[in-house]
């Protein structure tokens, strides 16, 4: 019996390390931002955005290019990257948001793949498969300032990721607060009305397409921010970081937390990345590639299991799961 079980033993040593949890925290924060965008689209507006990885890629690449090639200051480059992502969202949205939900999802997936292909092949601009480096000097300074300040109040040796962790979650929590506020406004109620019954919303004189575009633009903003933070976390950008899988992990995060709840997204992201990163400590005689495969099998099983047995996720309400009925 013990001989059978021993290969599956988990060495929990690494899980108590601070470095593990800051790493998980940063990724969870990034995916919270990404999935908040999915939440406003899928959960509150009823549009199936499968292209969130594309907005993330635009955010990361545009920021890097604006810093390296144009020489913009870091924060201005971030603003520029968001503007570009929003512009792209408007182009996609105006052409495809009139479509049926399933066609829209395919169109957004295709758009995200097209973006990744541009990142891969327009090597003059994007560095191709080698990617881009050297855009984070300004961030390194900021990070150092935060670390010094932290050292001043006695939190000194938490590792180099702590400043990024603080900034990512600061932005993510701010986004959650703002989105919750916005959702209770008349504007937010129109979004839900469109999700529930587009014809009724239109009969009240609401321009459904315009509201959907605004929803998509907000998702693009959040996706671009997630991309910027992902780039800072990796300190390089390359096309492999933005495969459609990223967007679908975002969907797993979204469904885990539950549809139509912004707080649930943060919860889902934390659980998801704790699970995914903990696969590293599974003490199986496996190669790195196999562990990477195992993670995606886990994501797949989670998606199937949640959809089959608890489509409303942990915090969602069953009656919000109205899509496609």
């Amino acid at each position: 019996m013990s001989a059978l079980l021993s290969p599956f033993a988990i060495s929990l040593g690494g899980i108590t390390e601070v470095g593990f949890w800051t790493g998980v925290g940063v990724l969870a924060g990034i995916y919270t931002l990404l999935a908040l965008g999915l939440q406003i689209n899928v959960g509150y507006t009823g549009i199936l955005n499968f292209g969130q990885a594309g907005f993330m890629a635009i955010g990361a690449y545009a920021m890097a290019i604006l810093v390296i090639d144009v020489g913009l200051p870091f924060l201005l480059a971030v603003a520029g990257a968001i503007a570009i992502a929003v512009a792209f969202a408007l182009v996609i949205g105006m052409s495809s948001l009139r479509l049926r939900a399933d066609y829209f999802s395919i169109a957004t997936l295709a758009a995200a793949e097209a973006i990744r292909m541009v990142a891969q092949n327009a090597s003059g601009l994007t560095g191709g498969n080698q990617g881009l480096y050297g855009f984070d000097a300004a961030w390194a300074d900021m990070s150092q300032t935060i670390e010094d300040w932290l050292g001043g109040i006695g939190i000194g040796d938490a590792g180099g990721l702590l400043p990024l962790l603080i900034v990512v979650w600061g932005v993510a929590l701010l986004a959650i607060v703002l989105l919750r506020h916005v959702q209770r406004s008349p504007w937010g109620r129109v979004l839900r009305a469109i999700r529930e019954d587009e014809d009724a919303a239109r009969a009240l004189g609401k321009n459904a397409l315009s509201f959907r575009l605004q929803s998509l633009a907000i998702a693009a903003t959040l996706g671009a921010l997630a991309g910027v933070f992902l780039a800072l976390n990796l300190s390089f950008v390359n096309p492999q970081a933005f495969e459609p899988q990223a967007g679908f992990i975002g969907f797993a995060v979204l469904i885990l937390g539950g549809l139509a709840t912004y707080g649930g997204v943060a919860f889902g992201a934390l659980i998801m990345w704790t699970l995914l990163e903990a696969t590293r400590f599974v003490d199986l005689p496996l190669e790195d590639g196999q562990i990477a495969s195992l993670r995606f099998i886990l994501v797949g099983l989670l998606l199937i299991g949640l959809m089959a047995f608890r489509p409303q996720g942990v915090f969602g309400k069953r009656e919000e799961m109205v899509l496609g009925d």
Partner: protein, 343 residues
Amino acid sequence: MWKEITVVEAMSLPQGEASSPVGRRVRRYVSRPAVVTTALVALTGLLLIAGHGVGDVAQTGLNGLSFGAIVALGAVGLTLVYGILKLVNFAHGDFLTFGAYAAFVANVSFGLPIVVAALLAMALTAMLGLAFERLMWGPMRARGAGMLQLMLMSIGAAFVIRYTIQFFAGSDVRMLDVDRTAVVELLGLRIGRTALIAGVTGVVVVAGIGLLLRFTLLGKRMRAISDSLALAETTGIDTRRVIFVTWLFAGAAAGLAGVLFALTTNVKPELGFELLLPIFAAVILGGVGHAFGALVAGLLLGVATEWSTLVIPSQWKLTIGFVILIVVLIVRPQGIFGQARAT
């Protein structure tokens, strides 16, 4: 105008009568979008011939037909499942990967001849499709699951299939045990023997499925279920059997498409996912649920992809599929052969 005709036909379906006058048939097939598409293809072809000469255009066109036949074979299963079961199966690309690896194991690990390996791959992929139907899609349909639920489940299924393969086989690129250097000369054009075999097989099989569905009772039953599952059931159609056969066709065609693509390129875990968007493009361009539409659209897409290499660097050629997909969705979401449907 066309809408009326299809309504009349749909009403006559349950009685099993398909006696529409020739004139109506002609009008139904030679529709305006088909004429526009033909004109566009002819114009593009002429412009390319003017710029690059007949030889290059014919050569790339031939390569494109071979690739397009594989896309069509992948698309025919997806379009049937999409049209009949209303399931947008994002795992369909990974069915192709599964077929390719099944053939690899049979052909390379066990040393079986490639034809036997291909038949085995078809059978195994069909069984995979049926297993998913039995375990997931059937029960979920019975519970009245929504579209988002089913789509996300299919993405989950795609992950499970692709990464289970990658878990066991690794991410190395592998080759089937076939002679890929042999070249056949056709009217002054050159095409790899495997590409020729893949192209011909693809066209014949998809056309066969198309004919079968158009002229047999099975096809009529499928169309009836596609219109309304509940109504089809009340007319006494054994819907379970028809759904079973649908997955049998979809899985076997996908498995074969995977093997044929592996014949002309190689075997790797991303094989099917890389083809998924071209396949979706063919499904939508051909009209969801139309087997012949998938054939024509797949071939068109293949030719457009290869023709594009005359104008732009070849590493961009796969983006043509995305461009066509997005343009079709915007201009004519019901595709060339599809009928306008309430959204």
